[in-house]
Structures are given as structure tokens and as C-alpha cells.
């Protein structure tokens, strides 16, 4: 059963506009949510995270919003740049199991075009 879901496999956005990537989760036993960016032939690169006790975290062009009642989080990138084109993974860290593992979504491929 997929606990972290990214229902949009791809997203295309024009340069300079806002990119919004969405993620849903199915249980409440996560203490942190994270976003990773992945280029081909590279490992995932950590972007930004948010604690389950917060509803917003901002870092430069990246903002993550958490809606606990809807079990939904989103990553906003503004303004979008061509270099942002990559696969974006949403991940969650469960309370249990030693706080160790991350559970990933299937990823969303973002294409930012001029």
C-alpha cells in the first residue's frame, strides 16, 4: 500500500511561472516531510523539509505547505527556472521504526521550458 502518493507523473511549466508539485499521504504517523530533486544519473538531492507541527517552510524560491487535515503537502517553486527541470520526490519519515527510513512517493517529472 503506497503511503506517500504523487499522483501527477509529470508537470510542464513556463520559465518564470510558479511550479506546484503535490503529494498526499495516507497515515498520520510521520514527523517530517521532505522534498528531493533528482537529475538523471545522480542521487536524490535534498531540497527542503517541514516538520509535521508546522504548516509552511520557506527557503529561497522553494516553499513547502503542509495541510494536515487533508494529509496533503505541496512544493511551490517560484519563479521556475530551466535548471529546475528534474524529477521531484516527496518523502516522509515515520515516527516508528527508529526514525530511520524515508518513504518516497513515485516522483513527478517537472519540465520548465523557456
Amino acid at each position: 500500500d503506497q503511503q506517500v502518493k504523487q499522483n501527477s507523473p509529470s508537470l510542464s511549466v513556463q520559465e518564470g511561472r510558479i511550479s506546484i508539485l503535490n503529494c498526499d499521504y495516507t497515515n498520520s504517523m510521520f514527523d517530517y516531510f521532505l522534498w528531493y530533486k533528482k537529475y538523471p544519473a545522480e542521487g536524490p538531492t535534498f531540497l527542503i523539509s517541514i516538520s509535521s507541527i508546522k504548516d509552511k517552510n520557506e527557503d529561497g524560491r522553494f516553499t513547502v505547505f503542509l495541510n494536515k487535515s487533508a494529509k496533503h503537502l505541496s512544493l511551490h517553486i517560484v519563479p521556475s527556472q530551466p535548471g529546475d527541470s528534474a524529477v521531484y520526490f516527496c518523502a516522509a519519515r515515520p515516527f516508528s521504526g527508529g526514525y530511520n527510513k524515508l518513504i518516497f512517493g513515485a516522483g513527478t517529472r517537472l519540465a520548465v521550458h523557456p
Binding site: V4, D31, Y32, F33, L34, Y36, A41, E42, G43, P44, T45, F46, S49, I50, S51, F89, R93, G97, G98, Y99, N100, K101, L102, I103, F104, G105, A106, G107
Partner: protein
């Protein structure tokens, strides 16, 4: 800044052979994680180590084993390889199990192909 190093980057093996993947964490990081990413799939957690002790275990087959050494590097040993083991294997590291915002830093991965 130093990143997570994985070797080899590519590995081709035959069915029923064995393979050893190595991971060198970021200096001073004491926690290592292994993930498997199949074609078109999300990374799946396999196993993790904190201070050389197994910390958490995920969907790791019994044919696989791993350990963390005194210098904090880790090795993933895979035996009786099957076609379905073909995947990208990522290692990640963090400082402490409860690392701040949960962030783990990933290596570039080892692409294993089983023929």
C-alpha cells in the same frame, strides 16, 4: 563539500552470482541508509545502520546482508542474484538517526544489472 561516495557506479553480474556495493558517508556522518530503486519506481528503503549497529530494516531480501564498519563506511552484500535485483542502489547518510529535519544525503547510486 564532500558528498556520499558509492562504488562501483555500474556493475554487471550474471544470475546466481554475488555482488558487493560500497558506500562512504559524508565525513562525520554516523548513520547510513540503503535504498533500492527499480525501473520507474520510487526508492525503497532496505536497511540502515547507526554507529555500526543495524538501526532499521525494510524490504531487504534474506539473500542480502549489510554492515557498517568502524570508519562508518558500509557494504551491501548481495548473493544468489536474480534478474529482479537489477536496479539502482542508493546509499544515504546523515548525522544521527534523528537528524534535524529528517534529511538524508544521497550518493550517486550504483546501477546493478543482472543478466
Amino acid at each position: 563539500a564532500a558528498g556520499v561516495i558509492q562504488s562501483p557506479r555500474h556493475l554487471i553480474k550474471e544470475k546466481r552470482e554475488t555482488a558487493t556495493l560500497k558506500c562512504y558517508p559524508i565525513p562525520r556522518h554516523d548513520t547510513v541508509y540503503w535504498y533500492q530503486q527499480g525501473p520507474g519506481q520510487d526508492p525503497q528503503f532496505l536497511i540502515s545502520f547507526y554507529e555500526k549497529m543495524q538501526s532499521d530494516k525494510g524490504s531487504i531480501p534474506d539473500r542480502f546482508s549489510a554492515q557498517q564498519f568502524s570508519d562508518y563506511h558500509s557494504e551491501l552484500n548481495m548473493s544468489s542474484l536474480e534478474l529482479g535485483d537489477s536496479a539502482l542502489y542508493f546509499c544515504a547518510s546523515s548525522l544521527g538517526r534523528l537528524a534535524g529535519g529528517g534529511e538524508q544525503f544521497f550518493g550517486p547510486g550504483t546501477r546493478l544489472t543482472v543478466l
